[in-house]
């Protein structure tokens, strides 16, 4: 019994950083209608910056500082990116937007390589969260529980932001009809920058959160962006709740896949996505595109 519980919790751990990353991607897509390939770069920046800030010290306060300062710093970079580049391509077709964000992805990728090198880096978990708890006959790392907790809190904060604040109403209104929103007096360009900054913040937060769990090396940006795409497409582009469901599905498929059919495991997430889109061409909680 506890064996299944631990398997389920490992899946939840994987789902947690996936959800945080995909929530940012899907939020940005919902309001800006841009599919941002460079989102993966911001995630990688988060993870890399955490390794620099924390260093090798198994130390308490630096980890907490990283968790707070890194997402804010990367979010500022996101704001600059939106203002200087993305703002110019909002009216263009999807293809131009995809190529522009891919170009950014390439530039950021080499930039990270220059700054942090090509060797794999790692971060120790904060000393408070080191060790593991006993669950029945098995053990489970405390940090993984913490990651799950952060993802849940992030989800709740996002929900409250979108449902309960004026900013959230404006973001949701921008998803529905941005022209009406603009004519009603909202500064839509400013709103877009704000949404993009929040999206970047989530990407970097996911990166920091995942840093102690994965090997932080070049290629992290490419692997997370594919997973985040799949998660947000399964859930329905633009839907944060969908991203949560998508992250759970993908994490479960991965975890079960590794256990039952290791050689076919990498194929599972693509099969899951194809199957979902075959049944619902706009994702589980998405709305049909016109």
């Amino acid at each position: 019994m506890s064996h299944y519980l631990i398997t389920f919790l490992s899946a939840l751990t994987e789902a947690s950083s996936l959800f945080v990353a995909a929530a940012g991607l899907t939020l940005v897509f919902g309001a800006l209608r841009i599919i941002n390939i460079a989102h993966g770069s911001f995630y990688a920046f988060g993870a890399f910056a955490a390794t620099t800030l924390v260093g090798s010290a198994t130390g308490g306060w630096r980890c907490w500082l990283a968790l707070l300062a890194v997402p804010l710093g990367v979010a500022a970079l996101g704001g600059v990116t939106e203002l200087s580049v993305l703002r110019r391509v909002y009216g263009k077709d999807h293809l131009v937007q995809l190529v522009v964000t891919y170009a950014l992805f390439l530039v950021f990728g080499d930039f990270a390589l220059r700054l942090w090198g090509s060797a794999a880096r790692s971060v120790p978990v904060p000393s408070v969260l080191a060790g593991s708890v006993t669950l029945g006959s098995g053990e489970f790392p405390v940090y993984d529980l913490f990651a799950i907790g952060v993802a849940v809190v992030t989800g709740l904060v996002l929900w409250a932001l979108l449902q309960r604040t004026a900013l959230g109403w404006r973001i949701r209104a921008a998803v529905e009809d941005r022209e009406l929103l603009a004519s009603a007096g909202t500064n839509v360009p400013l709103l877009f920058t704000t949404v993009f900054v929040i999206g970047t913040l989530l990407a970097a937060l996911a990166g920091v959160l995942a840093a102690p769990l994965v090997s932080v090396a070049p290629g992290l940006d490419a692997s997370i962006i594919i997973s985040a795409f799949i998660v947000s497409v399964i859930g329905g582009l633009g839907s944060v709740a969908g991203a949560a469901i998508g992250a759970l599905i993908i994490a479960l498929f991965n975890t079960v896949g590794v256990l039952w059919a290791p050689t076919w495991e990498p194929a599972f997430i693509y099969l899951a996505m194809i199957a979902v889109l075959a049944l619902r061409p706009w994702g589980l909680l998405g709305t049909a595109e016109r």
Partner: protein, 349 residues
């Protein structure tokens, strides 16, 4: 008046293309083997890019998974040789057919989705094949790919391999060009411009798009065969999403709204990549930055930029106005803002 200039412009374009083919045909006598291989690679990629552009530029369907059919073409040759010892001439014909049929099957599923969902579903299909080919080592050779004497001996001679590649690519591009000019191609463009209106006029949108997907898969697979002639091997990377990305960048770089724009993009990309790799340690950074500047400065690609440059020239010297009209008329499908774009433009300053 207008038809006269249109005809003149078309003759000029035709003369340009014939001159280009002539230059490419004598290249083996002028270039070193290494440089020749480079051009040969670019010719294969030009076919790949133009075949992909049948979907992107003409159909308005951004497929991020054409690498799937490129890979199917290459692996048809390699696996048929490895398991059945099938002669190359058989697989040369079989590969595009298999690619086309596979594309029809994928299209049945993918064309139910729209826009970004379509892009990401096609991406998932190519990634699915990529991981399967990597994992099923006993059948596919795994991550190392397939190597061996799978080509007839005359294709091992660099000059002959080059000419054969050029001939196949020219014939294929002529066929593709005929498809874009046919009533089918016109209807495909009408669907791109306004799907609802085309539907209201009684066009079966799904069938047209499915057929376009099949044609594209056919020619992408043929480009995959050309890859085998160039690389004398097949490897799983042909299926990956980055490989699917190349023809898209080539189309955007060269100009997706002209027939040969993507081919131009392929030639530019191939040469530029070598220069970049040789001169910069951060080649991705430079490539990305160049791509960014081109996209922001010339959203219609290099071919579009040439057209615009001529327009600018004509505005300065109004006596050239008739020529300008001719150029504008001769330019392949004129770019018109589609419905969705109009929506965005009001808010994005």
């Amino acid at each position: 008046m207008a038809t006269f200039h249109k005809k003149a412009a078309r003759q000029r374009a035709l003369a340009g293309v014939i001159a280009l083919i002539a230059v490419l045909a004598v290249a083996p006598t002028l270039l070193s083997t290494a440089a020749l291989l480079n051009v040969q690679d670019a010719i294969g990629l030009a076919l790949f890019a133009c075949a992909t552009n049948l979907l992107i530029g003409y159909g308005g369907l951004v497929s991020f998974g054409q690498g799937a059919f490129y890979g199917i073409g290459a692996y048809t040759v390699a696996l048929a040789w490895m398991h059945l010892n099938t002669p190359f001439w058989v697989t040369l014909v079989a590969a595009p057919v298999i690619g086309g049929v596979a594309a029809l099957a994928v299209g049945l599923l993918a064309l139910r989705t729209r826009q970004l969902y379509f892009a990401l579903l096609t991406l998932a299909v190519s990634q699915l094949l990529y991981v399967i080919v990597q994992q099923q080592e006993s059948f596919t050779g795994g991550a190392d790919g397939v190597f061996g004497p799978m080509l007839p001996s005359f294709l091992l001679n660099p000059g002959d391999a080059y000419w054969f590649t050029l001939a196949v690519a020219v014939i294929a591009l002529l066929a593709l060009w005929q498809i874009t000019r046919s009533p089918f191609g016109m209807t495909l463009r009408a669907i791109r411009e306004n799907r609802d209106r085309a539907e209201a006029l009684g066009v079966d949108v799904f069938r047209h798009q499915l057929l376009a997907f099949g044609f594209s898969g056919f020619f992408c697979a043929l480009a995959g065969v050309l890859y085998v002639i160039w690389g004398q091997s097949a490897n799983p990377n042909l299926f990956s999403w980055t490989e699917s990305g190349y023809p898209i960048f080539m189309a955007v770089l060269g100009g997706q709204y002209t027939f040969l724009g993507p081919a131009l993009g392929a030639l530019i990309y191939e040469q530029a990549r070598d220069v970049l790799l040789a001169s910069f340690s951060d080649s991705q950074l430079v490539f990305g930055a160049v791509l960014l500047v081109i996209i922001l400065a010339a959203p219609d690609g290099v071919a579009g930029l040439v057209g615009r440059g001529r327009g600018l020239l004509a505005r300065r010297w109004p006596t050239l106005a008739p020529a300008r009209q001719a150029v504008a008329a001769a330019r392949q499908p004129a770019r018109q803002d589609s419905k969705q774009d109009g929506q965005h433009e009001t808010v994005a300053q």
